[in-house]
């Protein structure tokens, strides 16, 4: 069930350059289950900024009734979000969309998680839930530079974790696809979230394999009504999928990247 709640800020801390980890508590957490789902956050009570911000769920903790969202300060909205203090309320709509299919990973099998930059956070809850199911998790996380790296130790707790930076200032130099090649990483299923060029490269490199991609698009409503975030379906000029409500996770080949 999608709900709307003024959730309470438990804590907020900067974990990397312009990157914040926001912990929220509220009843809505009970509705959150699927890794890869997102919440739509109104960062200000006022009409400016007007629209909500779609931010993916990084951790869901049913016992504590808390969830964690990791976001990067990019514009006016996220800058306002960084100002939230413990005890403040935040207007949250969610959980929204369809997340990563856990069943695609066989127990005892190997799941390769590939994240790029601010696409990394939803993979954390995925890694946790896969590990709980007895799936072997291997993570390849790409960042622009050393200062942008976060959650290396957290991912390492669930399995082999490789870090790559574009400028080579930390971990391996290069792109996540380079790391997969160099390390000869195999998988039964691949899950990815990150910039579109990265997703495209993965879809092309592993065509025909079980590859699930979480897409990002400018959104309006977040629930499928405004038609802002549509993408084409292969082989049709008029068929479409909505990133917010049909996705954000799609099987590679299901939509045109």
């Amino acid at each position: 069930m999608i709900g709307r709640e003024r959730m309470t800020v438990v804590s907020q801390r900067m974990i990397a350059e312009r990157t914040y980890e926001l912990t929220l508590s509220g009843q809505l957490v009970a509705q959150m289950n699927e890794p890869g789902q997102f919440v739509h956050i109104k960062v200000a009570e006022a009409a400016d900024p007007l629209l909500r911000r779609p931010l993916s769920l990084c951790q869901i903790d049913h016992k504590q009734g808390q969830c964690i969202i990791i976001y990067r300060q990019e514009g006016k909205g996220t800058a306002l979000l960084t100002q939230k203090q413990p005890g403040d309320r935040v207007d949250v709509l969610g959980p929204l969309g369809h997340g990563f299919p856990l069943d695609a990973a066989p127990a005892g099998g190997r799941a390769l998680l590939v994240g790029g930059g601010i696409g990394v956070p939803p993979l954390y809850e995925l890694a946790k839930q896969l590990a709980n199911r007895g799936v072997n998790v291997v993570s390849v996380l790409g960042f622009a530079t050393k200062a942008a790296v976060f959650y290396e130790a957290e991912f390492a707790a669930f399995g082999e974790t490789y870090i790559a930076t574009d400028d080579g200032s930390y971990g391996m130099a290069g792109r996540v696809t380079d790391v997969i090649e160099q390390q000869g990483l195999s998988f039964d299923v691949l899950y990815a979230c990150g910039p579109k060029p990265m997703l495209k490269a993965l879809a092309e490199r592993f065509r025909g394999r079980p590859v699930y991609l979480s897409l990002e698009e400018r959104m309006g409503c977040g629930v499928g009504a405004c038609f802002a975030c549509v993408c084409h379906v292969p082989g049709s000029e008029t068929a479409y999928k909505k990133v917010c409500s049909d996705g954000p996770v799609f099987r590679a080949g299901e939509v045109v990247l």
């Binding site: 629209l51 038609f227 802002a228 549509v230």
Partner: protein
């Protein structure tokens, strides 16, 4: 007495609040939040003869207290709307206002004739004001003679009353409204979005793939109020007002300007519950202001003596 009930051509509304076309799809998304039967009416997404994908993304860009959109009339086409969307909406006790669009006058007429016969379609909203398509849309909404001709043709074939949705992107909206009234329109809906643009400071290029988009949200409300104020004094057909409505107070402001019902657009995107919230808040606001019935408020801003007659306090 239902103090929110409003009678308009073709429409017996239990309350004057309805989601605006293009901001509510065909209702399915918001039906997961509340019972759509609480709404006064629903203005469904613009329907064209053939399915349309619309424009490339990005299709939305935020602006101060507003948003630009350039969806481009994406819709599943007339056949699918008739076969799937309208029948699905029949489960709700709510009249449908079918927004129709086309690239040619013939297309408008064909869609109007067919969709007006659907059992739950109680009125048409002629979309001559979409700023985001190259052909049709606003092309029919900027020259009074063309708008009047299209209105006449659609009136001839429609079995339900026809409301015409006005564009604010004109020099003289009163002249447009009068021409459409004379052509036989049963009502007006106003305003559609204002053409605007945003440019990305990093790339130096427009943010929207379409370049321009339609501005909506609280930012446009004063323009909507002014235009309804002007048009309502110049025509005798009713106006369904829209443009940045977020609260019950906003609704009253539109009534005071000259509207007889109000549509809520962009606010649905921010708060999916905004329509039922406004419907619940209206009676409280009417009590506070000593207003017996919402319809008393229409045109109060320009009707002489209206305030003294109707306001108890």
């Amino acid at each position: 007495m239902n103090r929110l009930a409003v009678e308009l051509p073709g429409l017996s509304l239990k309350n004057p609040i309805m989601p605006a076309s293009g901001c509510f799809g065909f209702g399915r998304e918001y039906a997961q939040f509340y019972d759509l039967s609480v709404l006064g009416a629903i203005m469904i997404k613009a329907t064209t003869k053939e399915p349309r994908f619309g424009n490339s993304t990005p299709r939305v860009a935020e602006t101060p207290s507003g948003m630009l959109n350039a969806i481009g009339l994406q819709n599943p086409g007339l056949d699918k709307v008739l076969a799937e969307e309208l029948p699905w909406l029949e489960q709700f006790d709510v009249p449908i206002i079918a927004n129709i669009a086309g690239s040619t006058m013939e297309e408008y007429v064909e869609v109007a004739e067919t969709i007006s016969k659907a059992p739950n379609v109680h009125a048409l909203e002629l979309n001559i004001s979409c700023p985001n398509v190259k052909k049709g849309g606003i092309a029919f909404g900027t020259v009074p003679e063309v708008a009047a001709e299209l209105t006449r043709l659609v009136k001839e074939v429609s079995v339900v009353p026809v409301y015409v949705k006005l564009s604010p992107n004109v020099t003289d909206i009163v002249a447009m409204a009068k021409a459409i009234e004379q052509a036989g329109a049963d009502g007006l809906t106003m305003i559609n979005t204002l053409v605007g643009m945003r440019i990305d400071v990093k790339t130096g290029r427009p943010i929207l793939a379409n370049g321009t988009g339609g501005l909506s949200g609280p930012a446009v409300k004063p323009i909507a109020i002014r235009m309804i104020y002007e048009v309502s004094q110049a025509v005798s057909i009713p106006i369904i007002g829209m443009g940045g409505v977020q609260t019950a107070e906003d609704v009253l402001e539109f009534f005071y300007a000259g509207a007889s019902a109000v549509a809520v657009g962009t606010a649905n995107f921010i708060d999916p519950f905004v329509c039922p919230t406004i419907i619940n808040e209206l009676p409280v606001l009417l009590d506070e202001l000593g207003i017996r019935h919402i319809s008393e408020c229409t045109g109060r801003s320009w009707k002489t003596g209206a305030h003294a007659v109707h306001c108890r306090s």
